[in-house]
């Protein structure tokens, strides 16, 4: 669906059911240069189990009007604008990678409506090396290659995927390419600049869940351990064989973890 936030068009998928703000809402936030399609194997599940799903394209990505927002803090404020404009009352957020940083910042700034927070494949910060940062604006093809190559574990490199016939790696590539160079370059710089993760994590009061990928080359064990250490009693799960693109690489396990956590902490009416 399209709706307006701050006088700009925003696109979100709703998992095949009309958005209904009287229901508990699950909001999905994707990583750098990705979009709503990243969550395709999760959104319909919740939408057909009496949740209202909102899977947004952030400004300047795929179907949402630009420009892309230049900081994690600005994105967190924008998420709040979305929540306010749609008059959402009870909210669970699921973030992946950059989406986790946005979720952390949102949760620390706007805790009132938030009932649960699920963080997948992230630390407290996402430092980006200069080579990738420069490539994102100067040589986007190389940057997307690096993101996909590092992002996917073995199954992705073998073009496997949970949907028969689909190559999750190539699908991810096409989405990222569509949001390059602008979306990718701005996103990576926003990640690199973000410094408030530790303070934000420490301020979060709602139940939190951290899902870690055992073969994550973009949010390695040291980074995820730092996140776990700052959160108050998070529920932690590790999927050993997955790479960074865990919601695509291990969707059934990921969905089961999200289901148990969200059903428990923000139960649908």
């Amino acid at each position: 669906m399209y709706f307006e936030v701050n006088a700009k068009q925003v696109f979100a998928t709703t998992g095949g059911k009309p958005f209904d703000n009287s229901k508990k809402v699950v909001l999905f936030l994707a990583g750098s240069a990705l979009d709503h399609t990243f969550w395709g194997l999760h959104t319909r599940f919740f939408a057909f189990r009496n949740y209202s799903v909102l899977c947004v394209d952030t400004p300047g990505h795929t179907n949402s009007e630009g420009p892309a927002l230049e900081s994690i803090e600005a994105l967190a404020d924008w998420v709040n604008d979305v929540v306010e404009s749609l008059e959402i009352k009870d909210l669970s957020i699921v973030g992946h990678s950059q989406g986790c940083l946005v979720a952390l910042e949102y949760a620390s700034r706007y805790p009132r409506r938030l009932r649960s927070l699920s963080l997948i494949c992230s630390g407290l910060a996402t430092p980006v090396n200069d080579y990738l940062l420069n490539a994102a604006s100067e040589n986007p093809s190389a940057a997307v290659d690096m993101m996909i190559s590092w992002g996917f574990g073995g199954a992705g490199h073998l073009h496997q995927g949970p949907i028969p016939g689909n190559s999750m790696a190539t699908g991810g590539y096409k989405t990222m390419w569509r949001n390059s160079p602008n979306g990718l370059a701005v996103d990576l710089k926003a990640c690199n600049d973000y410094q408030n993760g530790k303070a934000a994590a420490g301020a979060i009061a709602c139940p939190t869940q951290v899902i870690i990928a055992g073969k994550d080359r973009m949010a390695p064990a040291k980074a995820t351990a730092a996140l776990v250490a700052e959160l108050q009693d998070p529920q932690v799960a590790r999927i050993a064989e997955s790479g960074h693109m865990l919601p695509l690489e291990a969707p059934d396990q990921c969905r089961a973890l999200l289901r148990d956590f969200i059903f428990s902490n923000n139960p649908a009416s």
Partner: protein, 432 residues
């Protein structure tokens, strides 16, 4: 900096998860119609496209799935759907986006089945086609109408071997927001990945070089994932709610694989042209050696071109690798490894001499196929293209004396020796 697997490695491994129960190294043949659901929630979620998984082999099958993901990987596509034949792939791909009243602009030089589909069958469903000269890219632009929803061609035309200017035609498609679908059977992704040059969808008869052994018929549609279906309201089958699946919007929910998902959700379910698991297995064995075989096809083709050009019973030889061929420059651009292993040539003495040639070769098989490991010959005017009218024959570049040669993998000395038998017989006829 990236560490993507290369073509030959993907040919062997892409798409396959090693059998978790017995550790079978080869992709197992899942010769089953259906799959036991662990619980009702899993069953309903598979049917509702909430999760991946198999329900019924008309829609998906694990062996076929390996082949689909392997071809998608080799082609650089976001998704692939295998079908029972190449023609089934073409029909499913076209009808996924075109409906009554819609129009196609297509090359006039294509496999007879493609031409017949567009000229005879699709008009019965209200879908019309304008055929244009594939060597004139601007003709594609000029033929576009308000209701044109597809541009279609074969990269290497059959049997004239003219090469489409992929980038030029893709730009025309971009300019008019029309997807460009390429039948890439003759090139395979080893010789050209059409998506790299702007094509949006590819079709293969995997019966041919991809399988390569003449043992299984099959087709595939590959979704390039690079067409913005939502940029206009021209493609409602992709961008508007689809009632049979709870109003699913393929474009919104599946993005780069929306087109392939539409084919699977509608054509495979409602029409049912699925590939058999055994065929998928046989085709996978072929793809494992695709690059090795293609290299040999190409080297044998080069040797046969030299032989035929020097033979006094041969009136003309056509192959895009020859400088005199009108598509030579395009072949160098799009097919740098080689322009395939189909050769057209004329036998002096016309139709009767051609017939004598075919009937007197012993090693070369006279049959209606191409891309086998074995050398094949046929007379298109009386076989593969016999059901199209004289005007279309001329448009397709087919003459009475034309022999279509599909160069195989035999020792090329033996192929030449066999051709000597045929050409001597043709000479006797032409002198009589």
């Amino acid at each position: 900096m990236s560490d993507f697997l290369n073509f030959d490695t993907l040919s062997l491994h892409a798409g396959q998860i090693v059998d978790p129960v017995f550790g079978a190294r080869a992709a197992p043949i899942y010769q089953t119609t259906s799959y036991v659901f662990p619980d009702t929630d899993t069953a309903s979620s598979i049917f509702n496209l909430e999760r991946g998984g198999h329900a019924y082999s008309r829609i998906t099958n694990p062996t076929v799935g390996v082949l689909e993901q392997r071809i998608a990987a080799l082609e650089g596509g976001a998704a692939a759907v295998c079908t029972s034949s190449g023609m089934a792939a073409t029909f499913c791909a076209i009808t996924a986006i075109l409906s009554q009243g819609d129009h196609i602009v297509a090359s006039s030089q294509m496999y007879g089945g493609n031409i017949s589909l567009m000229k005879n069958t699709l008009p019965r469903f209200g879908i019309t086609t304008t055929f244009v000269d594939p060597t004139d890219s601007d003709a594609f632009r000029k033929a576009i109408q308000d209701n044109t929803k597809l541009i279609y061609g074969e990269l290497i035309g059959n049997p004239g071997l003219d090469i489409l200017d992929l980038e030029a035609i893709a730009k025309i498609g971009d300019d008019h927001h029309i997807p460009f679908m390429v039948d890439a059977t003759f090139n395979t992704p080893y010789l050209c990945r059409c998506f790299d040059y702007g094509a949006n969808i590819t079709i293969h008869s995997v019966t041919k070089w991809m399988g390569g052994h003449g043992t299984a018929i099959g087709g595939v549609v590959v979704d390039g994932g690079n067409f913005d279906w939502g940029a206009s309201d021209k493609y409602p089958t992709i961008t508007e709610p689809y009632a049979p699946f709870s109003g699913i919007n393929f474009w919104e929910e599946f993005g780069p694989s929306a087109f392939a998902t539409r084919i699977r959700a509608e054509a495979m379910r409602d029409i049912g042209p699925m590939m058999a698991p055994m065929n998928a297995f046989l085709l996978l064995q072929g793809i494992e050696t695709l690059s090795l075989r293609m290299d040999r096809h190409l080297s044998n083709t080069a040797a046969m071109l030299e032989y035929l050009q020097g033979h006094d019973q041969v009136s003309w030889v056509s192959h895009p690798s020859l400088p005199a061929h009108s598509s030579h420059e395009l072949a160098k651009k799009y097919l740098p490894k080689g322009a395939g292993s189909i050769v057209s040539f004329g036998v002096k003495g016309g139709r009767d001499a051609g017939k004598a040639f075919i009937e007197n070769t012993e090693l070369a098989s006279h049959l209606a196929n191409v891309g086998d490991a074995k050398t094949l010959v046929i007379h298109p005017a009386t076989t593969t293209h016999s059901r199209i009218d004289a005007e279309a024959l001329v448009a397709a570049g087919i003459t009475d004396d034309m022999i279509r040669l599909s160069v195989g993998l035999e020792d090329v000395k033996d192929i030449k020796a066999d051709f000597e038998l045929g050409l001597r017989a043709a000479k006797r006829i032409s002198k009589a």
